[in-house]
C-alpha cells in the first residue's frame, strides 16, 4: 500500500505540479514569440533577472538608474523562444493587474542567442495557443 501511495505522489509531482505552476501562464516553454512593447513605445527591455524585471515594473523612477545596467534594449520585432514562464509574477506599483515574467532566448538581431526576462505583455505569439 505504501508503495502505491509513493508511486502516485511521484506521478503527481512529475506531471501535475508543473502544470499547476504554469496553469495561468499565457505562454509555455518552446513557444515562438516576437517582442513588441506598446504602440507608443515598442522597444522592449530584456532583463538579466526576473526579480530585476519585477523591481523595475514595481519600483520608483529613482531606483530605475540602479537597475538599468542590468537590461538590454531589444528592437520591436525581435524574435525569441520562450524558455520559462512565471505567472502573475510582476506586480505594478500603482495598478492592481499583474503580469507574467517570461524567460526568453533571442533568436535574431544583435542580441541573438542572449537569454533574459521580459514582461508577458511585451510579447506577441507567433503560434497562438
Amino acid at each position: 500500500m505504501k508503495r502505491y501511495s509513493a508511486l502516485l505522489a511521484l506521478v503527481f509531482v512529475v506531471f501535475a505540479a508543473p502544470r499547476i505552476v504554469h496553469a495561468e501562464c499565457h505562454l509555455r516553454s518552446g513557444d515562438k514569440i516576437v517582442l513588441y512593447g506598446t504602440t507608443d513605445d515598442p522597444d522592449v527591455f530584456i532583463w538579466d533577472s526576473r526579480f530585476r524585471l519585477r523591481d523595475y515594473a514595481g519600483g520608483s523612477f529613482d531606483e530605475m538608474n540602479a537597475l538599468l545596467p542590468h537590461a538590454v534594449l531589444a528592437r520591436p520585432g525581435t524574435r525569441a523562444v520562450v524558455e520559462s514562464c512565471v505567472s502573475n509574477f510582476v506586480q505594478s506599483k500603482y495598478f492592481t493587474n499583474t503580469d507574467d515574467a517570461i524567460g526568453v532566448r533571442i533568436l535574431n538581431g544583435p542580441l541573438n542567442g542572449q537569454r533574459g526576462w521580459v514582461l508577458g505583455s511585451s510579447t506577441r505569439g507567433i503560434r497562438p495557443r
Binding site: 513605445d41 527591455f45 538590454v72
Partner: protein, 445 residues
C-alpha cells in the same frame, strides 16, 4: 382641493427645475473631465512627437527637428496647465500628483535625454536609448494613472446623475401620488357633503313648502307675502306665517321664527302652524293662544335650545279691530294710510323659555292701513359693511315701499337682498295685509 392641486403643480415644477439644475451641473463637470481627457491624450501625443523630433535630429541633423521639438514642448506645457486646472477643479488630488510626476519626468527627460542628444547628435545612443525607454515607461504609468482617475470620476458623475434623476423622479412621483390621492379623497368627501347638504335642503324646502305660509283671501283685505331663503350654502331656517279664516269675520294671522335651522326647524314650523290653528279654533284671545302654545311647545319639544318668537293676531275684518299678542317678536309694524310707521309692542317673552302670561292688546286699524309682519331676517339684515338694519331701518324701508301689499312684500325682500350684496345670512318672510273699511250693504242703504 385647489390647494392640493396647486401644491402638486409646485412640486412637479420644482422637481423638474431641480433635476434640470442638477443634471446641468453634472454634465458641465463631465464636459470638463472629457476636456481633460482630450488634453491628456494631446500631451501624450506631443511627448511622442518630441521623442521623434530628437531621434530625427540625431539621425539626420536637420534643424527642422530642433524647431519642431521646441514647438511641441511649448504646447506640452500649455496642455499640462489645462489638465492641471481641470483636475484641481474636480478635486482629483491623486490625479494631480500623477500629473506632477508626469510633468517632472518629461522635464527630466529634456535635460537628461533630449538636450544631450541635440547637443551631440553623433554620440553613441545605446545608453541614452535605454534611459529614454525608461522615461517613457514611467511616464506611461503616470498617464495611465491619470486616465484611470479621470475615467473613474466620469463614471462616478454618470452614476450620480442617474441617482439624482432616480431620486427626483421617485420622490416627485411619490408626492404627486400622495397629493393626487388626497385630492381625490377630499373631492369625494366634498361631493358627498354637498350632496347631503343639498338633500337636506331639498327635504327642508319641501317640508316648508308643505307647511308654511298660506295666505287665504280675507274679506276687506289685500294680502301679500314673500319669502326669501338664505344663501344656498346655508341650511334653511324655520320661518312660518299663516293667514287663516276662523269665521266669516275673524281671521287668524300669525308669523313665527324658530331658532335654529335645518330639518328640525322646518318640521317645527308644521307643528307651530297646525297647533296654533287648533288652539285658535277654541280660543279667540291671542295672549291665551300663545300661553297654551307655550305649554304645548315646552311639553312637546325636548330640545332645550329651540325657542320661537311669534306674533299672533286675530283680525276682525268687519270692524278692523286687531287683537294681538307678541312673544318676543319685534318685527311687527303698522303702516298707516298716511305713511306713518308704528311698531307693535312685544307682549311677552319668546316661547319655549319660561311659563309666562302673554298680554293681549287691541288696535283699531283704519281704512288702507297695512299690517306688516316679518321675521328677524329683516331687522337683522346687514349691509355690506356689516351694519344691521334694526327696527328703525326696517320701518324706513317698509315706509318707502309700494303701498300695495304684494308689491310691498316683494320690494322689501328685494331691498334686503340688494342691501347685503345678494348674500342673505338668514331666511326672510314678509306678510303684508292692507285693510279696507267694509262697504255698507246695499240693503241697508
Amino acid at each position: 382641493m385647489t390647494a392640493f392641486l396647486a401644491i402638486a403643480v409646485v412640486v412637479a415644477v420644482q422637481g423638474a427645475f431641480a433635476t434640470r439644475a442638477s443634471l446641468a451641473q453634472t454634465f458641465a463637470r463631465q464636459s470638463d473631465i472629457v476636456q481633460a481627457q482630450l488634453a491628456l491624450e494631446e500631451m501624450r501625443r506631443l511627448q511622442i512627437d518630441a521623442e521623434s523630433s530628437v531621434r530625427g535630429y540625431s539621425l539626420t541633423r536637420d534643424p527642422f527637428y530642433v524647431q519642431q521639438y521646441a514647438n511641441v514642448e511649448a504646447q506640452f506645457d500649455q496642455h499640462a496647465a489645462t489638465v492641471r486646472a481641470t483636475l484641481s477643479g474636480a478635486g482629483l488630488t491623486g490625479a494631480v500628483r500623477s500629473l506632477d510626476d508626469y510633468i517632472a519626468l518629461q522635464r527630466n527627460w529634456r535635460t537628461k535625454i533630449a538636450d544631450p542628444l541635440l547637443a551631440h547628435p553623433g554620440k553613441d545612443v545605446t545608453l541614452i536609448d535605454k534611459r529614454n525607454k525608461a522615461f517613457t515607461d514611467f511616464e506611461n504609468r503616470s498617464v495611465q494613472l491619470i486616465r484611470t482617475s479621470l475615467a473613474d470620476a466620469n463614471d462616478r458623475l454618470a452614476r450620480t446623475a442617474q441617482e439624482q434623476v432616480n431620486v427626483n423622479a421617485y420622490s416627485r412621483a411619490f408626492w404627486l401620488i400622495v397629493l393626487g390621492l388626497l385630492a381625490i379623497l377630499l373631492n369625494g368627501f366634498r361631493s358627498r357633503l354637498v350632496t347631503e347638504l343639498e338633500e337636506e335642503r331639498t327635504t327642508t324646502e319641501t317640508l316648508q313648502r308643505a307647511f308654511r305660509s298660506e295666505a287665504a283671501p280675507l274679506p276687506n283685505c289685500e294680502v301679500g307675502s314673500a319669502y326669501l331663503a338664505a344663501s344656498s350654502h346655508l341650511a334653511v331656517g324655520g320661518d312660518v306665517f299663516d293667514v287663516y279664516r276662523l269665521s266669516d269675520t275673524l281671521a287668524l294671522i300669525f308669523i313665527a321664527d324658530v331658532s335654529g335651522k335645518g330639518v328640525d326647524a322646518a318640521v317645527l314650523t308644521a307643528f307651530i302652524k297646525f297647533t296654533i290653528r287648533g288652539i285658535a279654533l277654541r280660543r279667540r284671545d291671542p295672549g291665551a293662544m300663545l300661553a297654551e302654545f307655550n305649554t304645548a311647545f315646552s311639553q312637546t319639544v325636548e330640545n332645550p335650545y329651540l325657542f320661537v318668537s311669534m306674533f299672533v293676531g286675530v283680525l276682525d275684518t268687519e270692524t278692523l279691530a286687531l287683537r294681538y299678542a307678541s312673544a318676543g317678536h319685534d318685527s311687527a309694524f303698522i303702516r298707516r294710510s298716511s305713511g306713518m310707521m308704528q311698531q307693535l309692542a312685544v307682549t311677552g317673552p319668546v316661547l319655549g323659555v319660561m311659563e309666562e302670561p302673554f298680554e293681549t292688546k287691541t288696535l283699531h286699524l283704519e281704512d288702507m292701513d297695512t299690517l306688516v309682519l316679518a321675521t328677524d331676517g329683516l331687522t337683522e339684515a346687514r349691509d355690506r359693511s356689516g351694519k344691521q338694519l334694526q327696527e328703525a331701518g326696517a320701518m324706513r324701508l317698509i315706509g318707502a315701499s309700494n303701498a300695495q301689499p304684494q308689491l310691498l312684500a316683494d320690494e322689501v325682500v328685494a331691498k334686503v337682498r340688494t342691501l347685503g350684496g345678494n348674500e342673505l345670512r338668514d331666511d326672510l318672510a314678509v306678510l303684508a295685509i292692507r285693510v279696507h273699511e267694509a262697504e255698507a250693504d246695499d240693503e241697508e242703504v
